[in-house]
C-alpha cells in the first residue's frame, strides 16, 4: 500500500514523552554486545600489516616465512583479494584501500594480513612478512598537493570541471561551483568587504569502540559477518561485491555500536577479515587497535579556504565568495563539493559563488564525519560574518537575522526553501538569557550558525503482533543514539497502545529488505516513516480480524485509541475489541498479525542551528576553558526529547574538541605523529560545561509527524562559535583550527608585538 508522507498536524498521545530507552540497562551493566564481543568455535585472530611509508611502491611481498609459522592458518595480500569484473569504481577504491595493490598510498595502508590461532602468533607472523618497498615522494598538505610541482599520487586523475580540460594528471580530482547572481556586481554594491583565509586540520570521529568484526566464510562460499557498523545492509552489499560473493549468501548482523558518527558507514578491515576467513576456512575476529583506527580509518578532510563577504552599511549581505580546498585522502571524494553546498545556506545572498576543490593526498581515505564538510566551511563563513558585523558596527545576531534564509527564497545550492528554522533559531538566541549573562576578564562570548541537509533513503520495517497483544517492531537502521525508544514511541502512537507494549529490534540482513545506513540524520526520520506505515498496514489487518470475529463488514470497523470499534446503529451492542483481544484469537482468524512497509523515505527536511559559547582564555599559556554553551536547533518534531537533546549535546561536544585541540599531525616523513588518545586530545567530561539545549519544532512537511533529522547539525557551528568567542575574549582572530594553546599563544604574542 502506498502511503502519504505529508505532515498532518495530528495531536500526539505518547510522542514527545521521555520514556526509558530499551537498550539502556544492557549498556550500563556491560551486557550489551559490541563488535568485539562475539565468538565462534575455532575462531582465529586476524591482524593487519601496515605500511610505514607515506607513499611507496611495493616491489615484492614474501609471506612464506609467515605461512610456515606454526599456528598461522592464512596470510592474505592483494593477490587474495582480486578486483571482481565489473566492480564499480568507488568500490574498487574501497577494495584497494582495504588492501594495497602495488603501492602503499599512506602511512598505515594495509599491505598484508594474517589469521592465526592467537594474537601472539599473529603478531609474530606479521614480523615475518617481508615487504620490499621503494619509497616515493609524498604530499600530505592540501595546498602543497595542488602545486604544479607536487608529486602526483594517481596518474589517472585529470581534474574535471575546468576549462580547458587538463592534458596532464594532477592531485585535483574536481572543481565544482555553486551559486547565484553576479558576484562582481554584488561586491561593487558593497560598502564593506571582509576577505580572509582559513585552515582546518583533519580530525577523527573518535568513536570509543574501534572497528571490530567476526567473519565466517563457510566452505560452500556462504558466510556471515558480525560487525560494528552504521549499516549492515550496505556492508553486506559492499563486502559481497568486493569479494565476488552473491549478496544473498552473506548475512551481516550489526552489533551494538560504540559510536560511529560517519566513520562506520565505510568498510575498512571487514573485507580483509572475510578474505582471511575464506582462505583459512575458519572464523576470524579482527579488532583494530586505536593506532590502526587513527592511521587507517577515515578522518575528515584537512582544508584550506578563502572567504570574501561584502555588505552595505545598513547590514545587507550583497556578495559572497568562497574557495574551499578539501583533502580527500588517498582516493577521490566529494568533500570539497559538499562544502560548497553547505557554505552559504544560512543566508539569503543575491550574489554568491562557492567553489570547491577535491584533492587527493597521501593520507587515509576520508570518510564522513557528522554533517561532513560543513563544520569547516562554517568556520570560515561564520568567522568572516562576525568580522563583517563588527566592521559595520552591527550586532552579530541582528546582522545574521537581517540576512537569514527564508521560506520561498532560493538556496545558494539550488532548490527553493520550504519551511525552515534558521530565523527562529536566531531569534531564540537573541532572546536567550545566556546572551545577557555577565562576563569576567579574559572571557568572551561568541555565536554562530550551521546548516545540514538531512537525508532519507531506502527503508524497510516489519511490525509483528504477538498472541498476547505485545508488538515487535523490526527495523534495519542501527540504533546509534536512542532510536529504538523513538521508534517504539512511534509504533505505540500509531497503534494507540502503551510504549511498554512495544519492543524494537534491529534486524540483520536476513530478516528485512534493504535499508540504507544510519547516516545523514535519517534513522528516526526514515525508520519512523516506515514504522508509521507498517503500523497503518497492521491496523488494516486488525480491522479485518475484528470484523471476522464480529461477523460484520470490515468497512464497519474503525481503529480508535488502540481498539477496534464497530460503527453504525446495527452494531451498537458490540463491545470494542482491544489489540490484546484480537491477538489472542489470531490463530483462528487467519494466523499471525503483521504489517510490513518498504519505502523510499524522501522528503527529509533541512536543519539549522545557532549556538552560543562563552570561553575564558589564559593569556599566559593560551589555554582555554569553555564556560557555558547553548545549542538552539530545529528538530521538526522531537519524538523523544532526551535523545534529541543528546544529539545536540554530542555534536556540540565533538565540535568543541575539533575547535580547540583535535588534529592529525603529520611529520615531514608523511607519517602520522599522534595516533593515540594521549596525543590526539579529545575533550573529556571535565573539559566541558553542561551543554544547554533548546529544541525548536518547525514541522517538516515531508514527514507524517513533521520529523527532521537531528543528529548532525549540532557539530557545524561550534568551530566558529568558539573562534568568535575567543576573538571577543582576547581580541585575536584565529584563522587556523584547532585553536590550540600554542596557536592562541602565538597569536597573542604577535598581537602584542604589533601593538608595540
Amino acid at each position: 500500500m502506498k502511503h502519504d508522507n505529508s505532515y498532518t498536524g495530528q495531536d500526539f498521545k505518547v510522542i514527545g514523552t521521555r520514556v526509558k530507552r530499551p537498550d539502556g540497562i544492557d549498556k550500563v551493566t556491560g551486557r550489551a554486545r559490541y563488535g568485539a564481543d562475539a565468538s565462534l568455535p575455532g575462531q582465529l585472530v586476524g591482524r593487519i600489516l601496515r605500511s610505514p611509508h607515506a607513499h611507496a611502491r611495493i616491489k615484492s611481498i614474501d609471506i612464506s616465512k609467515a605461512e610456515a609459522l606454526q599456528g598461522v592458518k592464512a596470510v592474505v595480500t592483494a593477490d587474495d583479494m582480486p578486483v571482481p569484473q565489473g566492480l564499480p569504481g568507488d568500490l574498487a577504491h574501497m577494495l584497494e584501500n582495504s588492501m594495497a595493490r602495488g603501492r602503499a598510498l599512506y602511512d598505515g595502508h594495509a599491505v598484508a594480513a594474517v589469521a592465526a590461532i592467537d594474537a601472539k602468533t599473529a603478531r609474530k607472523a606479521l614480523q615475518l612478512i617481508e615487504v620490499d618497498y621503494e619509497p616515493l615522494p609524498h604530499v600530505t598538505d592540501v595546498d602543497a598537493a595542488m602545486q604544479p610541482d607536487a608529486p602526483v599520487i594517481h596518474d589517472w586523475i585529470y581534474t574535471s570541471g575546468v576549462d580547458p580540460k587538463p592534458e596532464k594528471p594532477s592531485n585535483v580530482v574536481q572543481r565544482t561551483e555553486f551559486g547565484l547572481g553576479d558576484i562582481d556586481a554584488g561586491f561593487a554594491e558593497a560598502d564593506v568587504v571582509v576577505e580572509r583565509s582559513y585552515k582546518t586540520e583533519a580530525t577523527h570521529q573518535g568513536y570509543i569502540e574501534p572497528h571490530a568484526c567476526l567473519a565466517n566464510i563457510r566452505p560452500d562460499g556462504s558466510g556471515e559477518l558480525w560487525v560494528t557498523t552504521q549499516g549492515p545492509f550496505v556492508y553486506r552489499n559492499v563486502c559481497a561485491q568486493m569479494l565476488g560473493m552473491d549478496i544473498a549468501k552473506l548475512k551481516v548482523t550489526s552489533s551494538e555500536i560504540g559510536g560511529g558518527f560517519g566513520g562506520k558507514t565505510h568498510v575498512w578491515g571487514e573485507p580483509v577479515a572475510l578474505a582471511l576467513s575464506r582462505k583459512a576456512n575458519r572464523p576470524v575476529k579482527l579488532v583494530m587497535t586505536r593506532d590502526e583506527v587513527f592511521r587507517a580509518s577515515g578522518p575528515t578532510s584537512s582544508t584550506s579556504m578563502d572567504i570574501k563577504l561584502g555588505a552595505t552599511r545598513d547590514g545587507k549581505l550583497v556578495a559572497a565568495r568562497a574557495e574551499m580546498r578539501y583533502g580527500n585522502g588517498a582516493f577521490p571524494g566529494i568533500w570539497g563539493m559538499l562544502s560548497c553546498m553547505t557554505s552559504f545556506a544560512c543566508y539569503e545572498i543575491a550574489n554568491c559563488k562557492a567553489i570547491g576543490y577535491d584533492v587527493v593526498l597521501n593520507r587515509p581515505k576520508v570518510a564522513a564525519y557528522r554533517a561532513p564538510s560543513a563544520p569547516m566551511a562554517a568556520f570560515g563563513v561564520e568567522s568572516a560574518m562576525d568580522e563583517l558585523a563588527a566592521a559595520i558596527s552591527m550586532d552579530p545576531v541582528e546582522f545574521r537575522l537581517k540576512n537569514a534564509s527564508r521560506e520561498g527564497g532560493q538556496s545558494h545550492y539550488g532548490p527553493v526553501w520550504g519551511p525552515i528554522g534558521i530565523r527562529a533559531t536566531l531569534e531564540a538566541v537573541r532572546d536567550h538569557p545566556h546572551m545577557k549573562a555577565p562576563l569576567g576578564p579574559n572571557q568572551g562570548r561568541g555565536m554562530a550558525c550551521g546548516f545540514w541537509f538531512n537525508i532519507g533513503g531506502q527503508t524497510c520495517s516489519d511490525l509483528n503482533v504477538g498472541i498476547d497483544g505485545t508488538v515487535t517492531l523490526t527495523v534495519g537502521t542501527v540504533d546509534v543514539g536512542g532510536s529504538r525508544a523513538s521508534l517504539g514511541l512511534i509504533a505505540a502512537e500509531e497503534l494507540g497502545i502503551a510504549y511498554e507494549q512495544v519492543s524494537v529490534n534491529i534486524g540483520d540482513t536476513g530478516s528485512l529488505g534493504h535499508n540504507d545506513m544510519t547516516e545523514g540524520s535519517r534513522g528516526t526520520f526514515s525508520s519512523g516513516m516506515a514504522a508509521i506505515f507498517a503500523a497503518r498496514n497492521t491496523i488494516e489487518v486488525l480491522r479485518e480480524r475484528a470484523a471476522k470475529m464480529w461477523g460484520i463488514p470490515v468497512e464497519d470497523v474503525t481503529w480508535e485509541a488502540g481498539q477496534a470499534v464497530a460503527k453504525g446503529s446495527a452494531h451498537g451492542n458490540l463491545k470494542p475489541l482491544t489489540l490484546k483481544d484480537i491477538a489472542a484469537k489470531s490463530p483462528k482468524t487467519g494466523g499471525p498479525i503483521a504489517g510490513h512497509n518498504e519505502v523510499v523515505a524522501d522528503g527529509a527536511g533541512v536543519s539549522f542551528a545557532s549556538h552560543i559559547c562563552d570561553i575564558e582564555v589564559d593569556p599566559e599559556t593560551g589555554a582555554t576553558k569553555v564556560l557555558r554553551y547553548t545549542v538552539v536547533q530545529d528538530a521538526g518534531k522531537a519524538i523523544h526529547p532526551d535523545y534529541v537533546e543528546g544529539q545536540f549535546q554530542g555534536g556540540a561536544a565533538q565540535g568543541i574538541g575539533w575547535a580547540l585541540n583535535e588534529e592529525y599531525i603529520y611529520g615531514k616523513d608523511g607519517r602520522l605523529q599522534n595516533p593515540g588518545f594521549l596525543d590526539y586530545r579529545m575533550p573529556v567530561c571535565s573539559d566541558l560545561p553542561f551543554i544547554d539545549t533548546k529544541i525548536l519544532e518547525i514541522p517538516n512537511p515531508g514527514h507524517p509527524y513533521g520529523v527532521r533529522g537531528v543528529g548532525e547539525t549540532s557539530i557545524v557551528p561550534p568551530l566558529a562559535a568558539i573562534g568568535n568567542a575567543l576573538s571577543n575574549a582576547v581580541g585575536v582572530r584565529m584563522h587556523h583550527v584547532p585553536m590550540s594553546p600554542p596557536r592562541i599563544l602565538k597569536a597573542l604574542r604577535e598581537a602584542e608585538r604589533e601593538a608595540c
Binding site: 569504481g89 566529494i334 553546498m341 554533517a371 532548490p415 526553501w417 520550504g418 532519507g456 523510499v600
Partner: protein, 81 residues
C-alpha cells in the same frame, strides 16, 4: 518543456550548462533523456543524483511526477555522517 538547472559535478557532466530544456513527466524520464543527451551524466547517475522539484529533494524515488511548471534542480547525492 522543463527547464532543468544543475550545479556542482552534475553541471560539469552537462557540459557546464547552467540549465537545459527537456520534456519529461517523471524523474525517471528526465534522467533517462538527459543521460541519452549527455553521456558523461552516466557517471554521475552511478554516483547518485538527487532531484529537487519545487524545493523537495528526491534521492531515490524515480516515479515522482514533475509538474509542468516545476522548478527542477539536479544535485549531487548527499552522503551523511
Amino acid at each position: 518543456m522543463l527547464t532543468v538547472r544543475a550545479n556542482g559535478s552534475v553541471r560539469n557532466a552537462l557540459d557546464g550548462a547552467e540549465s537545459v530544456e527537456v520534456t519529461a513527466s517523471t524523474i525517471r524520464e528526465l534522467l533517462t533523456r538527459l543521460a541519452d543527451r549527455y553521456p558523461a551524466l552516466e557517471r554521475e547517475l552511478d554516483a547518485g543524483i538527487a532531484v529537487a522539484i519545487n524545493g523537495e529533494i528526491y534521492r531515490d524515488d524515480r516515479d515522482v511526477k514533475i509538474p509542468a511548471d516545476a522548478e527542477v534542480f539536479l544535485l549531487p547525492r548527499i552522503p551523511g555522517g
